[in-house]
Subunit: 327 residues, 2 copies
């Protein structure tokens, strides 16, 4: 398995191993295809960022037991289900350096295996009396779907998206599940409402920083390190913050060249180095980097409400590293 260790979170290593065990238990099923598909996806690894947030948040509030492990596993399984469906939406052939489920099997298998996972998470949480946790996770899923549909609508409308709408999309699409992951840690620790609010706000801001860094990596990243192709957002007609800002703020001559570089007829025609240079010239890369930094600072400000100590430091380090990651 290629699960990469998140720096600064060694204090969650034991619980993350338990999360892996819980995930393996959950994906057992009488359809032989289900464990096969989920093993493929689980073994492709990933950073396990969301359960790490749950575990470290619970530790920050002074109580991390099997409940935090269960909720961390549930939020990761929900994330894996959303990845399977996202890869259908974006028609992606690779995920974390291995074939995506839709590519390896079919759209049908990816649809049903993810549906099964969501239903299984729901059944498991109800069986354990975790209705509040279920409401937190499902509320996040609902927002993610709304945001992705809004983003799809914008694609169809060819390049009309305000920065405010874009930021709301990112908040719901990436922030909501990270906020849920942090809140679930607080729930597992039976934290008071102000600390739950702080954890949720931390997660939202972290998600914003994380997604904007993702936008930047789609323009400037290395496909090998990322384990997926770059330029895919633009190739499918999806505006991201750097491009959006460049389109909004460039002068006439540059704007024409940018539009021409962005609105290619097919993904194959996309000249990514040229596009990157144009976006950079219009200040888009710098603007997005600054925005990501602002969200990291916002995230850090919410940590002031948590008890200080190694877990709070680990959350701080997770937020700071959202900016400097290359994968």
């Amino acid at each position: 398995m290629t699960t990469s260790r998140l720096a600064g979170t060694e204090l969650a290593a034991q619980e993350i191993a338990e999360v892996e065990t819980a995930i393996a238990r959950i994906v057992a099923s009488r359809s032989a295809l289900i464990p096969e598909v989920h093993q493929h996806l689980v073994q492709a690894g990933g950073k396990r960022l969301r359960p790490t947030l749950t575990i470290v948040s619970a530790k920050a509030l002074g109580r991390c037991d099997e409940r935090a492990v269960l909720l961390g596993a549930m939020v990761e399984l929900t994330h894996l289900a959303s990845l399977m469906h996202d890869d259908i939406v974006d028609n992606s052939a690779t995920r974390r350096g291995t074939p995506s489920v839709n590519a390896r099997w079919s759209n049908g298998v990816a649809v049903l295996a993810a549906d099964w996972l969501i239903a299984t998470v729901t059944c498991e949480l109800i069986a354990r009396g975790e209705e509040t946790a279920l409401a937190v996770i499902t509320g996040a899923v609902r927002r993610m779907c709304e945001a992705e549909l809004t983003h799809l609508e914008q694609r169809a409308r060819t390049w009309t998206l305000s920065e405010a709408t874009y930021l709301q999309i990112v908040r719901d699409k990436t922030g909501a599940l990270m906020a849920a992951a942090c809140e679930l840690g607080g729930l597992a620790a039976e934290a008071p409402v102000e600390q739950l609010d702080a954890l949720r706000a931390f997660g939202f801001a972290l998600g914003m920083a994380f997604q904007i860094q993702d936008d930047l990596l789609d323009l400037t990243g290395d496909p090998e390190t990322l384990g997926k192709p770059v330029g895919t957002d633009i190739a499918v007609g999806q505006l991201t913050l750097p491009v959006l800002h460049a389109l909004e703020n460039s002068t006439d001559g540059l704007l024409d060249r940018l539009r021409a570089a962005v609105t290619v007829a097919s993904p194959d025609e996309l000249d990514l180095p040229r596009l990157r240079a144009l976006v950079d010239e219009a200040g888009g890369l710098e603007y997005a980097r600054e925005a990501a930094e602002r969200y990291v600072n916002e995230a850090l400000s919410h940590l002031a409400l948590l008890p200080s100590g190694p877990p709070a430091d680990a959350l701080r380090s997770l937020a700071e590293r959202a900016l400097y990651r290359d994968a």
Copy 2:
């Protein structure tokens, strides 16, 4: 709207109208695409069989109030979500005589709009303290996904499916949600456990009869009346009971001709009239009709445990009509 009235269920007409109102309330959302997609699907109509089962079951147990209406709406929304995903799995272009959501918009929209619907049903049921009903619905969804994945696996393995496996698939794929719909009516009426069991068993048997009749209509139905093309199961390589029986029970010469008719290279090459004649010659149509009849009789036997009266008569009539429907 083209919602067709189910014969014998006039006594549920008022509540079904309330179900429609509840459905319209639920699909309001801040993404403009969501109400648009769901209106498209809701207005395509359908028989509203599942909420009718919920309402009539509640009435049969002597208590049908807003709780039964809510649960009926939730089971229908779950059914609509599963239809959107099924149409991706089967690559279907039409549904109830109108374009399917994947055909009218895209696979991505169909994936996300259905995910949103499932999440919304979950949020709504938790908010109302209906955890038991949610567990019933979600347990059914889980079984449906497992069965569909097993069915997909069988397609890939080219024509190796035992009748026992097939019947288990049908039980989970179609029976589970009908059983849930009936059980939810009993829950809303706060029925004792033996009556909940009887309602569930009735729903399972009804679902089996219903699906086998569907299999027959895929071979013998009229596309206009059905609102969808026929021969699609075989065209995608999916064995159904009449074909399965014919393949298992025909003699050498007939078997060769059947296999040749079934294993065409592309859906366009399928000679449905010829296939139908061969299946009929091997006794497949008669065998499936008898099986459907057996399940109807089984369904009726479970009604003995319910108080007699017009609602129980309506359930009986629903089961009997599963056999004689042409759409």
